[in-house]
């Protein structure tokens, strides 16, 4: 154990509590008073977003589209061009904090991948990793203690669930406009490869306050167990409400422990699209209506009652801790309609030993089955990476160069190393040239650097070229029908704070209705409660921004 210099004087100083605490309270630097106004629409509209310069060094097998279909590669490119000619770092070290979805990797002294990364970056990357479940609390204490790393990821969400984010950004983090606005971003070509759509979410106080972690416009996939659909003899493309319900019934057999859905939000998502619910908010002439307030939502709730009664949902569907991925892998449920699109890779890997397993994606038709239902596009970001205020502009540039390296596009040399490490150590190439992680690589490469900077998503499934076509086709079918959530890119403090508890209460109440414990008429009361606790305030905050300008800059 490393002993701490824990001198008597420190102990005594500590014992005089008030002085210490006051010191603590004031330890936050204080430059200027609270200024919510600086994040006004007018200033934000004045911000100039970075110029979008897509990377052209590699040609995808299936191109992406302007609307947001992700480009796809059937195999890993055999040529891996360098996208960053010079070592970004200048020695020393750069610190960062991000959430992690895997078990933590070994530290830099026992991790050749990490060492190699440091070498390539030309700096010691000091990473704090926090499991995503605990990230919000760690984030809050980090802010309170003012012990900031150079690069700090916001908690996942759009807008990020951080109270008073604009004021926080102004006080503690760097306005990057000077370095990234317009053509200035050309110094960081890999950051320029991030689509404009996602940059909107990093504009606060009239400036660019972070690097967005881009995610595909498609957002979610409606995963299905195609093999179970075939076994039940039903189509994997149920058209309309009646057919969907019949399909779900055909997939259900409680005596065999089989159900169509594992969690309440699975059928809810599909039915919501079917019924034409808005993508969270609906904007008409600058006025916003939330999903919960619509006729369509009431219809969905009605349908949910029917689905619950029909027994097609797992009996523990209202238990939020339901291990839905596990149930899907086990074939206990056949439809997993509400899961992030990167789940594709994990499901394929989880089931590579299961010969029967066939993963599919389900299109959703409108209620009468006449046409595809509108797709609800995702927010396009995972989080943003904020940069601590730096005294030295050169250092700021160094940090940006490091982030630029980390954002290297799919197929480049930097990308290959970032995800797969060193050939022969962390990965081996298969016959088709696909990198396959070794045991060492699996343990060592899971540094959460992809939550500090990332390239736009690219469809690619190692060793399964057909998956690239399948996913690309699904996205190409869905995305043209897509509707945006009109408030994406805007910040509402209520959305970042009060909405979470209000929403939880609403969902809880709605689930009571679905289970028949409350009458349907209770819905009106739930909506009223949600509106008074968060909804109306949130609406007002968003509407003000929508009405004053054309929203955030586009």
């Amino acid at each position: 154990m490393s002993p701490v210099a824990f001198t008597r004087r420190q102990v005594l100083a500590g014992a005089s509590g008030t002085a210490l605490l006051m010191g603590l309270g004031l330890s936050g630097c204080s430059n200027g008073s609270k200024s919510a106004e600086t994040n006004s629409v007018a200033v934000n509209n004045a911000a100039v977003l970075p110029t979008y310069i897509p990377y052209t060094g590699l040609e995808p097998d299936l191109p992406g589209t302007e609307e947001g279909v992700d480009p796809a590669f059937r195999n890993f490119p055999s040529e891996n061009p360098r996208s960053v000619p010079e070592t970004p770092g200048r020695g020393g070290s750069v610190s960062g904090m991000a959430n992690i979805y895997y078990a933590v990797p070994p530290g830099p002294d026992r991790n050749t991948y990490w060492q190699g990364l440091n070498e390539r970056l030309g700096t010691n990357l000091e990473l704090q990793m926090v499991s995503n479940a605990d990230y919000q609390q760690k984030f809050a204490t980090t802010i309170a203690g003012n012990e900031l790393p150079d690069m700090l990821q916001t908690p996942n969400g759009s807008p990020p669930p951080v109270a008073n984010l604009p004021q926080l950004l102004q006080r503690r983090f760097t306005d990057l406009s000077e370095h990234l606005s317009g053509d200035a971003i050309k110094d960081y070509p890999n950051l320029a490869n991030i689509p404009t759509r996602t940059w909107r979410s990093s504009v606060y106080n009239g400036g660019i306050y972070g690097i967005p972690i881009p995610r595909g416009a498609v957002g979610n996939y409606h995963f299905i167990r195609k093999d179970l659909f075939d076994k039940a003899g039903v189509s994997a493309e149920p058209k309309g409400y009646e057919e969907f319900l019949e399909t779900a019934k055909a997939l259900t057999d409680p005596a065999q422990r089989r159900w169509a859905f594992s969690l309440w939000n699975q059928p809810r998502t599909v039915l919501g699209r079917m019924n034409g619910e808005p993508n969270v908010w609906r904007e008409e002439g600058g006025n916003l209506t939330h999903r919960y307030e619509t006729e369509e939502y009431a219809q969905t709730l009605n349908d949910m009652i029917a689905f619950w009664k029909a027994g097609v949902m797992h009996p523990d569907s209202f238990n939020p801790a339901q291990p839905f991925k596990q149930l899907f892998n086990a074939g206990t449920v056949a439809i997993n309609a509400d899961d992030g699109y990167p789940g594709w890779t994990q499901y394929i890997l989880d089931n590579q030993d299961n010969e029967e397993f066939e993963l599919g994606l389900m299109p959703v038709y409108n209620r009468d089955g006449s046409d595809l239902a509108p797709w609800h596009l995702g927010s396009g970001i995972f989080s943003i990476t904020m940069i601590k205020q730096q005294d030295d502009p050169e250092r700021l540039k160094e940090i940006l160069r490091v982030l630029n390296w980390l954002a290297a596009p799919f197929g480049t040399e930097e990308y290959l190393y970032r995800l797969f490490g060193q050939e022969g150590v962390d990965h081996e190439k298969d016959a088709d040239g696909n990198p396959v992680l070794t045991k060492t690589g699996t343990t060592n490469t899971v540094l959460p650097i992809r939550y500090l900077a990332d390239s736009p998503y690219t469809i690619y499934q190692p060793g399964r070229p057909q998956d690239a076509d399948y996913q690309h086709a699904y996205q190409s079918q869905a995305i043209p029908t897509g509707i945006e959530n009109p408030v994406v890119g805007l910040f509402s403090n209520t959305a970042a704070t009060d909405n979470a508890p209000a929403d939880k209460k609403f969902i809880d109440g709605a689930n009571e209705i679905v289970q028949g414990r409350q009458p349907f008429s209770q819905l009106a009361e739930l909506v009223a409660a949600w509106r008074s606790e968060a909804g109306d305030k949130m609406r007002a905050e968003y509407q003000e921004q929508l009405q004053t300008g054309a929203g955030a800059p586009r």
């Binding site: 210490l20 936050g28 809050a140 309170a144 523990d316 801790a321 970042a496 508890p501 809880d508 009571e512």
Partner: protein, 328 residues
Amino acid sequence: MALDQTSKRLQAEPIDWGDSSAPAARPRRLARLSRDKLLVLLGLPGAVALLLFQYVPLLGNVIAFQDYQPYLGIGESEWVGMENFSFLWEANPAFLTALYNTLVLTVIQTVLVFPVPLALALLLNSLAGERLKRLLQSILYLPHFLSWVIVVSLFQQMLGNAGMLNTFLLQNGFPIVEIIGVPELFKALLTAQVIWKDAGWGTIIFLAAISRIDQEQYEAAAVDGANAWKRMWHITLPSIKGLFILLLILRLGNSLSVGFEQIILQQGPVGLPASEVLDTFVFNNGIVGGDWGLSAAVGLVKGVVGVLLVIGANKLAHAFGEKGVYEK
């Protein structure tokens, strides 16, 4: 030598170690300090740690009167008076439900759950074989090591609507028994889980107390013809009564905290009216949205209620001639 001096003082006033209420031998404060300095010195490291890591941060509870923002700190966050305490007088129905559920659970847990470890300890103690006793105890305290997440998921796996029990029933043509997810049974479920998890663990402290009982007392009683039941009633129980009461008073001090993690994990299926307690109410209404002031305010209220209950319970204990947590 300091040691010598101390011991001499001790020699001089041995009576002071006996009963403090004896007024005759109460030296002046300084004299007592000088007499007890070695004693105080022994306790000092613990006392300093307590002050530094419990009481200094407790000062941070002033944020109960603030709209606390981590990035502003205590110095700059806005003071809002009693606003964070408004849940006390607004008497909104959700809060009242939470309070009601909390009180019911407190009563259940104090009356039904709290004595279980004692009963189990007595049962184990009545076994003759030392080895068997140790083995059983080692088994029964195992569940304590599982976190609530795991306990809840075990119950789900075993008793859930699609769990082992119900699958067995279903596959053999019986109707399923809904246990989990039924609002009416929720409190019973919580109670069963608490007992399952911690009853075995709770025996440890009682067994330690029982182990101090002089075996010759039993022997003498047996010779006098007292049967096992009488020996338990007249020797074992009186010997651990003090400890039992002490633990009970401390439990009362935390009356308003009833299994936060356990409950928050299981609210989904049964709904808030059946499952909301004070802690989850605060969580659902404030913490989820990062309302630090509210959580500090509720912590203070719970502490104050705890103080009142402890003082009351301690008075009661004194009235019955027991020591309680602190002396008169």
